[in-house]
Amino acid sequence: MEIKDIPQSTASLVLKDEKFGNSGAELAEPTSEEEIANVLRKANEEGKKVAVVSGGTKRGYGGLKDDYDILLSLSQYKGIIEHTAGDMTVTVRPGTTIKELQEFLSDFGQMVSLDPAWPEQATIGGVIAANESGPKRMKYGSARDQVIGLRVAYPAGTIIRTGGKVVKNVAGYDMNKLFIGAMGTLGVITEITMKLRPVPKAESLVKLFVPKEQVQVLKEFIVNIQDSMVEPASLEMINPALSKKLFNREVYTLLVAFEDVENSVRYQEQWMEEHVPAGMSVDVSQGDKAKEFWRAFATLAPNSLTDQESGSTKAVLKIGTKNMDVLTMMAVEETMTDIDQLEIEIHGGLGHGITTVILTGEESQVKQAIHQFRAEAESKKGYAVVKHLPVKLRKEIDVWGKKPSYFFLFEGIKKTNDPNNTLNYQRFLGGI
């Protein structure tokens, strides 16, 4: 069993963030679970409101308040609590960054199969609470497929364990699921146990450059890929604006990742090269080059640490649709007018149905675009959540979109766990 304390970060946290809100009148930086529980218990008794922060990349993600009474930072509560290589599981504190966690595991040839944005800043606690995922979700699944156990501090100060430390477990309700993506509104996650996978022995990235007029042919090719025996880890499509930025080519680009043993990866690369429709060009990056690309890819969207300059307005949308409707989302801008002061960068996974839209430009045009993307997503029975936006605009635009008919169940669950609305009040869907 390996235990590793990771040095506390020296960077001091911005207590006040006027642009993004979700700030606090006072800062609590606990370094133990007991301290976390005490902060919550006291606040809950005194009727104070608590906001939770860790890496600080998601202060633009939901929330209608500029300030809470207390800003509870988990950024100093980090480190590996338990890692048994033979069990392929790890237990980690929430303030550990994704990069710290992956670097620790890579010494054992293992990894957490999550590739969210900003691994150097984003912490595992925040990634789980916001249910963040990346392009390789297609092969490995999302947070709900990796988390097998949690320890959670409830607002009343009790510590509740959910799940366990074994990879297969159906004892009682699968309470882990409640806290994944709950935006910290039901409890503060103090420990996370996850399944691990071996680091793939080889990887490569096949980039397919597709002229705009060939999008229909590409769609057919994607269906062929999925019907074939190749097993891509990603089928991430990139719109021409983003493609220009990344590759200096203003065409659609499809990012097809392969991760497996060497022979298998080479074979699949070859299959792609042999089957590419005429008119599309292919470029292959192997091993470290592929890794390097994905590292850069993870820093494409702005976050509340990087987006501190005044000037243009930035917004990031998370759109969920059926897999193939990602192509429709890619094309939304073609129907948009009055976007002369707006830059629209899009990538979306044809194997997992999540599209990310990065909007940069003049405020009213950003707002207009958000509504148009949402309308298009909803027409496909999907949704659009604005996951990065200044607090001023979050008060104007409902960043979570419409409430489902069963919203009363969400309210019931919130009331059960946090009857006084102590935690991350108004941070989530429907003002929960």
Binding site: G141, R161, A171, M175, G320, K322, G401
Partner: protein, 490 residues
């Protein structure tokens, strides 16, 4: 006169509720006479039995909703039932429930290959889904041993696993959307069309594995997968269990993710060889491993080579790779019918379902051997070694007074052994009524309370599948009370 009497007696079970429910589903879709109800007094967990008030067979969501509304309005306890293969008693009508059978809602509604999903009704049989899409090279991954008869609705309720979930995950990893009738009769649709990450709390994840206590699932969108290009299966025989367990760790630490990694011990092998699908395993080996690797064909050979090497370094007596699909099929039939095969060597058997961290396998198997010696009962071990999911099969004879209790006691002791090394009391069979008390091995009162309070949000009147999943202070099961009195609880 006597004929008239018996008729009158028979009529007594028909009451106003029966009439009203018959009006909802039609007169032929309800059972209420005692002799018709007998086969619904238990499920795959046969130690406890109770009679339902009636069994109704709705044909669609509207009828399910109407029945639920009726039960809710008249304070009638009710529960949902699929094929009744559950092994923990989740579908046993402890409180004389109205059983809402989903056996007639058994259609495949839609397959969408482009988006890799299928929509089924809850009564659709698991294996039928794979059979319906295999011509296009697709399959549905979760494969519980009872997959030829168990329903996908039941799989959702229990969050069913199977031999191949080591690589591909359990039911919850394959569910994309659910239509649910809530305990008040309201119909809701979660993640309609299988849209990922619908905003809000993950009710789909919570409902999956809730053992029918939060709602009744009436439509399910599942993920379908492409068949792997290649597949190879290895069978390895070991002269001691320790070597077999170490081979399991060796394979995992080599960075291989097998599609399945199964183990059987000597007693289990004796059982399967006496069963319907013997394959001629040597009688004197102590353990066997069944290992399957799938994926891109070009990458499989080197993984098989590595597996063979690991086995050899762990003193394997004999190791072979299946030479044909037929041989592979035989090996799997032998394994998948393993539980039932115990009937060939013992009048009765009790299946347990504990989970442990993989690395603790040798010591827990040792403890199970001790439990067997202490109880004087033979225990066969068939298990998913790759994910640490043990299935001790406790062999006993219920005709011998006291032996059933002994078997239950030994089962509890096995679960305690799993809990003691940081494991769980159930990996795929569920808690039901069987393991309610054992929940205390792994959860504190506060943790149990956190869960029951969630149940109250969905099921405030507790009319739906009451008395399952959580320990209760007042127990109705005499047999288990005896067990509790004799087994030290943590």
């Amino acid at each position: 006169m006597s004929l008239f009497k018996s008729r009158r007696k028979k009529k007594t079970r028909r009451d106003v509720h029966i009439e009203q429910m018959a009006a909802i589903v039609g007169p032929d879709e309800i059972l209420f006479e005692k002799e018709d109800l007998l086969s619904y007094d238990c499920d795959g967990f046969t130690v406890h039995k109770a009679m339902p008030k009636a069994v109704v067979f709705p044909k669609n969501t509207e009828e399910v909703a109407a029945l639920v509304k009726y039960c809710a309005a008249h304070d009638l306890p009710f529960l949902a039932r699929g094929a009744g293969t559950g092994l923990s008693g989740g579908a046993i009508p402890l409180n004389g429930e109205v059983i809402i059978s989903l056996g007639k809602m058994k259609n495949l509604l839609h397959v969408d290959f482009e988006n890799r999903q299928a929509v089924v009704q809850p009564g659709f049989v698991n294996l039928k889904l794979t059979n319906s899409i295999s011509s296009k090279g697709y399959y549905y991954a979760p494969d519980p041993s009872s997959q030829y008869v168990c329903t996908i609705g039941g799989n959702v309720a229990e969050n069913a696993g199977g031999a191949h979930c080591l690589k591909y995950g359990v039911t919850t990893n394959h569910i994309l959307g659910l239509e649910v009738v809530l305990p008040n009769g309201e119909v809701i649709e979660i993640s309609e069309d299988g849209i990922p990450d619908s905003p809000g709390y993950d009710l789909m994840g919570l409902l999956t594995g809730s053992e029918g206590t939060l709602g009744i699932v009436t439509k399910i969108t599942v993920r379908i997968l492409k068949n792997p290009e290649g597949k190879q299966t290895v069978l390895a025989y070991f002269d001691n269990v320790e070597d077999g367990s170490r081979a399991v760790s060796g394979i995992i630490s080599a960075g291989i993710v097998p599609a399945a990694l199964e183990m059987m011990d000597k007693t289990a092998i004796e059982g399967v060889e006496a069963g319907t699908f013997p394959v001629g395993h040597p009688k004197d080996i102590e353990a066997l491993l069944l290992i399957e690797v799938d994926g891109i064909a070009a990458g499989i050979d080197e993984q098989i080579e590595q597996i063979l090497e690991v086995c050899k370094s762990r003193n394997v007596r004999e190791v072979k790779v299946a030479e044909s699909e037929e041989e592979r099929g035989k090996w799997w039939a032998n394994r998948k019918t393993g539980f039932g095969a115990m009937g060939a060597i013992s009048p009765d058997y009790l299946v347990q379902d504990g989970v442990i961290p993989r690395s603790r396998l040798p010591e827990v198997l040792q403890r199970i051997t001790e439990i067997s010696e202490e109880s004087g009962l033979r225990i066969a071990n068939i298990f998913h070694a790759g994910d640490g999911n043990l299935h001790p099969l406790i062999l006993f004879d219920s005709r011998i007074p006291g032996e059933t209790e002994k078997a239950l006691e030994a089962g509890t002791a096995c679960l305690k052994a799993c809990a003691d090394v940081g494991g769980s009391i159930t990996g795929e069979h569920g808690v039901g009524i069987e393991k309610k008390e054992e929940m205390r091995f792994i959860f504190t009162d506060e943790e149990l309370d956190a869960q029951t309070r969630i149940r109250e949000v969905f099921n405030p009147e507790d009319l739906l599948n009451k008395g399952k999943l959580f320990p209760t202070p007042s127990r109705c099961m005499d047999i288990k009370t005896i067990v509790k009195d004799t087994v030290a609880v943590k």
